[in-house]
């Protein structure tokens, strides 16, 4: 049972539709007129001895190609994979193989809206081994050869691949600049801006599998968030006697787990006087001690300030 077994698709003009019915081994593909349901054509390639067990079938959005997965003749033997034919002439345009074994089962097949990419998923029944479960092919080149729009399609595809490459290189090259900007922001204690930049940067890096940058951003993000939490907690510890972690999270917009670890560390390092309760996930502050501590700090600072400025 599958979703794509026996597909129905409309041609772009909406006047005809094509559909594929799978029986046990063989299958039928027909084109019918929509208004009258008259049979216009039966595609014959599935009767061919080279194409067996066609299970999945999809059609290009422009209505020109038929893409199907099954068992196809590969030299003397049969292989499992995808074939693409022109609907009009049933001419074979491309054959992509996934597996020689007959244990490979297809689950899903799709073509991108521009008709340039083809994806196939499946699995192997006997699977103690690592097996291909997802493949993506670039169909643009072969399509262009048959469409005689060679240059246009190929250029479009090449441009897209080039763009992705350039983006990756750009991100790598920019790393030094970006890291400098972010470090500067952290130095200035402008954490919110730094977090914003880091998140954006990390997201971009993720799109291109740049793990080094992702790891670096994660580390910096964590450091920034810890600073934000500390600032918030110090701010709140004199105002309230007891706070829940989710309330602190609401105030500073950081996830709970990091808040708990930070608060625990702060208590341990005696940055605040408080106690953390695991069961209720809340912190009880010793308000008076905190206020006194801050007062002490302020007096110390005042003294230092008077002394330093007095010197000048």
């Amino acid at each position: 049972m599958g979703y794509s077994v026996g597909g129905i698709h409309f041609f772009p003009d909406g006047k005809k539709y094509i559909f594929h019915v799978v029986y046990d081994v063989d299958s039928i593909t027909e084109i019918r007129e929509f208004s009258s349901n008259k049979l216009l054509r039966t595609l014959t390639f599935t009767k061919d001895s080279d194409d067996l067990n066609t299970k999945l079938m999809t059609f290009s959005p422009d209505g020109k190609f038929i893409i199907y997965a099954g068992e196809h003749k590969k030299g003397e033997k049969f292989g499992r994979g995808v074939r693409i034919r022109k609907i009009e002439t049933e001419e074979l345009i491309a054959s992509y193989y996934v597996d020689d074994m007959d244990k490979y089962l297809f689950s899903s097949l799709d073509i991108s809206r521009d008709g340039n990419l083809i994806a196939l998923s499946g699995w192997t029944e006997s699977s103690p081994y690592e097996r291909r479960c997802l493949s993506v092919w670039d169909f643009s080149k072969r399509k262009a050869e048959f469409e005689k729009e060679k240059q246009v399609i190929q250029e479009k595809m090449r441009a897209r691949i080039k763009y992705e490459k350039e983006q990756k290189e750009f991100l790598l090259n920019e790393f030094e600049n970006q890291s400098r900007t972010i470090e500067a922001l952290i130095q200035e204690s402008n954490y919110s801006k730094a977090i914003e930049l880091l998140s954006k940067y990390r997201k971009q890096a993720k799109g291109y599998d740049l793990y080094e940058i992702m790891n670096w951003s994660d580390e910096k993000l964590k450091a920034c968030k810890v600073q934000v939490i500390k600032k918030t907690v110090l701010n709140l510890c004199t105002k309230y006697a007891r706070l829940q972690i989710i309330e602190i999270a609401e105030e500073c917009g950081v996830n709970n787990q990091l808040i708990i670890s930070t608060v625990k560390a702060m208590i341990k390092n005696q940055e605040i006087y408080a106690k953390y309760f695991e069961s209720s996930k809340s912190v009880a502050f010793d308000q008076q001690a905190n206020i006194e501590e801050i007062d002490n700090l302020m007096t110390a600072y005042k003294k230092w300030e008077d002394k330093e400025f007095g010197k000048k």
Binding site: G6, P128, W137
Partner: protein, 187 residues
């Protein structure tokens, strides 16, 4: 050996990919991953279609997926539920429950979204037409094979969003290829 035209691929150890779909915008390739052995644990992975980089994971049990034509939403199916995900906030946007009077054997077996995004159509042993974005059910279409094990395997919508074609699949082996056509608006 480099395979011709192969852009990228994934190898899996003991894992199934049940469904793959490109987003109409060309931004994503979505795949439903399932751990084998019928544990039912599955997630939706979103990849960059050209580079194969993993972009996002939606943790939800799922049997099938489809993107909306505008690529703003993703629709996933779990048994008899349709879940619509907002691809900007990555949150659940709507949940539709396909209930049937008859004994439900397979859950939703096919679904489709009209090109104008006004209706969502889900097919199981009968067909439901839902209004979008309100999520109200506006029609229930019946009239398919009465035997148990007959369900809608494929749905297609005309490019003008007016008509629906559905084909049934019969487990009992009857070569039933009756294709039926409906007007979506009037049912």
């Amino acid at each position: 050996m480099v395979e011709k035209d192969l852009l990228w691929f994934l190898n899996g150890i003991d894992c199934n990919v049940k469904s793959v779909k490109f987003s109409p915008s060309g931004e994503f390739l979505a795949g439903v991953y399932e751990s084998p052995g019928g544990s039912g644990y599955s997630v939706i992975f979103l990849f960059n279609p050209i580079t194969g980089a993993h972009l996002k994971t939606i943790k939800t049990p799922s049997n099938g997926i489809a993107f909306f034509p505008s690529s703003k939403y993703l629709c996933s199916v779990e048994q008899s539920k349709l879940i619509i995900w907002d691809l900007i906030t990555w949150k659940k946007f709507k949940k539709l429950n396909h209930k049937s009077n008859r004994k439900f054997v397979y859950g939703i077996t096919s679904f489709a979204i009209t090109p104008n995004e006004k209706y969502i159509i889900s097919g199981a042993e009968d067909i439901h037409i839902w209004d979008f974005p309100s999520g109200n059910k506006i029609h229930t279409l019946k009239g398919f094979g009465r035997e148990i094990g007959c369900y809608i395997i494929s749905l297609a919508i005309s490019p003008d969003s007016k008509f629906l074609i559905a084909s049934p699949h019969s487990e009992s082996g009857a070569k039933d290829k009756d294709i039926k056509i409906w007007d979506i608006k009037t049912g």
